[in-house]
Amino acid sequence: MSTTTLPPGEKTRPAPARGRRAGISDRSRAERKLGWMLAGPAFAVMLLVTAYPILQAVYDSLFDFRLTDPENKSFTGLSNYSVILTDRIWWTSLAVTLLITVVTVAVELVLGFALALVMMKALSAIRPVIRAAILIPYAVITVVSAFAWQYAFSLDSGFVNSWLGWLPGISADTDWFGGTWKSLFVVCIAEIWKTTPFISLLLLAGLAQVPEVLQEAAKVDGATWWQRMRRVTIPNMKAAIMVALLFRSLDAFRVFDSIFIMTGGANNTETVSFLAYRQTIARLEIGLGSAVSVLLFVCVVLICALFIKGFKVDLASARGEG
């Protein structure tokens, strides 16, 4: 808002005495109390719906525990974990999950960047149209997107085979859901279609934060379009790119809905989330399922740590929380 540009210098200080905590005045004590009173309920709910379940899962994972046979619940220590970690199913599902994550995120990053550029450059007259269009995949529920792509490729109702019949290797009776690779290919397409808009919006926001004057300066300095992109724009939106990557990677790693709808885990297309679901909800193996859940959680934490430590993603600064 132009009426309220932040005043420079001194004005920022007299406001609340941020960061000065040695002696606490009544006003700041009251502020603390009010702060926790207001934020407390949300905080408590978040903890209750996540911290409690994951602790329970950790606890359950140490038992041999079937819901169909609750009397025989017995403590078995880490044996559930050793069962899982020595089973090929776990490693297959982990590999499938990682494959989906890497492929979709990589494609989405490139595609999303292209979309962001087009949106950035689009004439203001058609910008609302493009913006509305790009939001639609984001807003369409994953299950619907999965059905749409499944039916498009399926043998009985699809049109893809008849449209793409001229390509080598595709004919009227190509069964896309008949093999691991082909199934995963379709799953990836559905995932990419659905989530690229989100990444492109984040990248667009990042692009918009690179000052136009830098572009102009680079132009004057004689940089080509590609050089400007690579040496000016991208380095300046690195934070936005990294945040988008992190969020999408974590999201992609949890892929479940599309697998459930499109393949049901057939032909070795089971992902880690699906495996956990199948163990608990379908087979009522609470002990084993909890162990898979805990492992999944550990994987997510590892990915997070990898991004934050390895790629130096500073979430705080990227989110203006420094």
Partner: protein, 424 residues
């Protein structure tokens, strides 16, 4: 109508750092007082304590003799114009101005609100913008709406927090005059925070100069200019700023980087026993000796200097003269430079000469000045050795009389206008 008394006001933040330290100012009814100082001097904090947005750590704040330390802002009946105007973006100009009146619930009828807003709008020439939203206004218009919101209620005092700092130079000048006119006309006690010394000098009946939370001097603009109490005030007031030079006392002469000058007996007595002092020259007290009439020339001292750069401004000419700093006072002057938000670039003096002067870059020039207008400062404490208390008191009385006359004139012309209106 109101008097505001600040008694030993202290503001300490959590870490014990006093942002405002022991400030006492008596603000008289109808007075226009300026709080001025470099950034971080605590002037805005002081203002926010007066209005009640900031707690007072210790000290007393009295409005019309009543202690208001613990009163909420709404109970102090003060009106404030914020630096960024703080216009409510969802309300029209009319509703923005009417906002304080609407809050009183029932005290004003719609017709009264209408009348008051329109009166304020007329005063500020906002009539044709009343239905617009703040986002569609120019900076100057927004500023006027913010003032309208302050004017519309019968506030005991107006508080301004750097109200002109977001405007461009030309508009700033216009609005400055406008604020002065309105304040005189309404005769409302006003506290005005600024870092711009032109605003301070032109608007204020009195100006309070603050440094690091400590009040340095609170006096009329003329007294600040002619009789500053210390180095800081002397350096802060005046543009271009006062030149400070190391001066060694040498019997009845003062030896400066440009040579030695004679002292009057009065001056010699003041610096007796001191070896080294800091001499202050205002740039505008120098003249180009070559264009001066002989009789004036003989009344002062002429020094010969090498001019480095000149700037011709049409109405005057600035000449810059570099000099070698004296190690003995270098630290003191550096610190002063820092206190004044300076960049510590180079040691040079600046002189403002008549535009007719033919001095150009690189010339060796003869400069004239009157040693009686010299200020001398104690290098240890920074206090002004040459300050004349009697003269300061005389200026003060004169200033107070002028202020009362101005208010009276404004009152009379207001009455005449009312009579005229009644007659018609």
């Amino acid at each position: 109508m109101s008097e505001i008394k600040l008694q030993n006001i202290v503001k300490k933040y959590g870490d014990g750092f006093p942002a405002v330290n022991d400030v006492s100012i008596d603000i008289r009814d109808g007075e226009f007082i300026i709080l001025v100082g470099p950034s971080g001097c605590g002037k805005s904090t002081l203002l926010r304590m007066v209005v009640g947005l900031e707690d007072i750590t210790s000290g007393e704040l009295l409005i019309n003799g009543q202690r208001v330390n613990d009163k909420a802002p709404r109970d102090r009946n003060l009106a404030m114009v914020f630096q960024n105007y703080a216009l409510y973006p969802h309300l029209s100009v009319f509703e923005n101005i009417a906002f304080p009146l609407r809050l009183t619930k029932g005290k004003f009828s719609d017709a009264e609100i209408d009348e008051r807003v329109n009166r304020a709008a007329d005063l500020l020439e906002l009539r044709e913008h009343l239905q617009r939203k703040p986002a569609n206004l120019s900076g100057g218009q927004r500023q006027r709406v913010a003032m309208g919101r302050a004017l519309v209620r019968d506030a005991d005092a107006f508080l301004f927090d750097e109200p002109l700092s977001n405007l461009d130079a030309k508009l700033r000048g216009q609005m400055r005059t406008e604020i002065a006119r309105i304040q005189r006309r309404l005769g409302t006690t006003t506290i005005y925070v600024t870092h711009d010394q032109t605003e301070a000098m032109t608007l204020g009946d009195r100006v309070a100069v603050l440094k690091k939370g400590v009040l340095q001097q609170c006096a009329s603009p003329r007294e600040l200019y002619e009789q500053p109490v210390n180095l800081f005030v002397a350096g802060f007031i005046g543009s271009p700023p006062m030149n400070f030079l190391p001066a060694r006392v040498d019997g009845d002469r003062l030896s400066l980087p440009f040579g030695s000058i004679p002292m009057t007996p009065d001056l010699a007595r003041l610096v007796e026993g001191k070896e080294l002092v800091i001499a202050g020259f205002r740039p505008e007290h120098f003249e180009d000796a070559s264009v001066l009439e002989p009789h004036r020339r003989d009344a002062g001292v002429v020094i010969e200097v090498d001019v480095d750069v000149t700037e011709w401004l049409g109405n005057e000419l600035y000449a810059y003269v570099p000099y070698e700093p004296d190690a003995a006072v270098a630290k003191q002057l550096e610190e002063l430079d820092r206190d004044l938000d300076g960049e510590g670039m180079r040691t040079q003096i600046v002189v403002a000469l008549d535009a007719k002067s033919r001095i150009r870059d690189g010339d060796r020039a003869q400069l004239w000045f009157d040693p009686a207008r010299l200020h001398l400062f104690d290098p240890e404490t920074g206090t002004t050795i040459t300050r004349d208390e009697d003269e300061a008191r005389r200026i003060d009385t004169e200033n107070e009389e002028e202020r009362k006359q101005a208010l009276e004139r404004a009152r009379l012309s207001d009455e005449r206008a009312k009579e005229k209106a009644a007659a018609v």
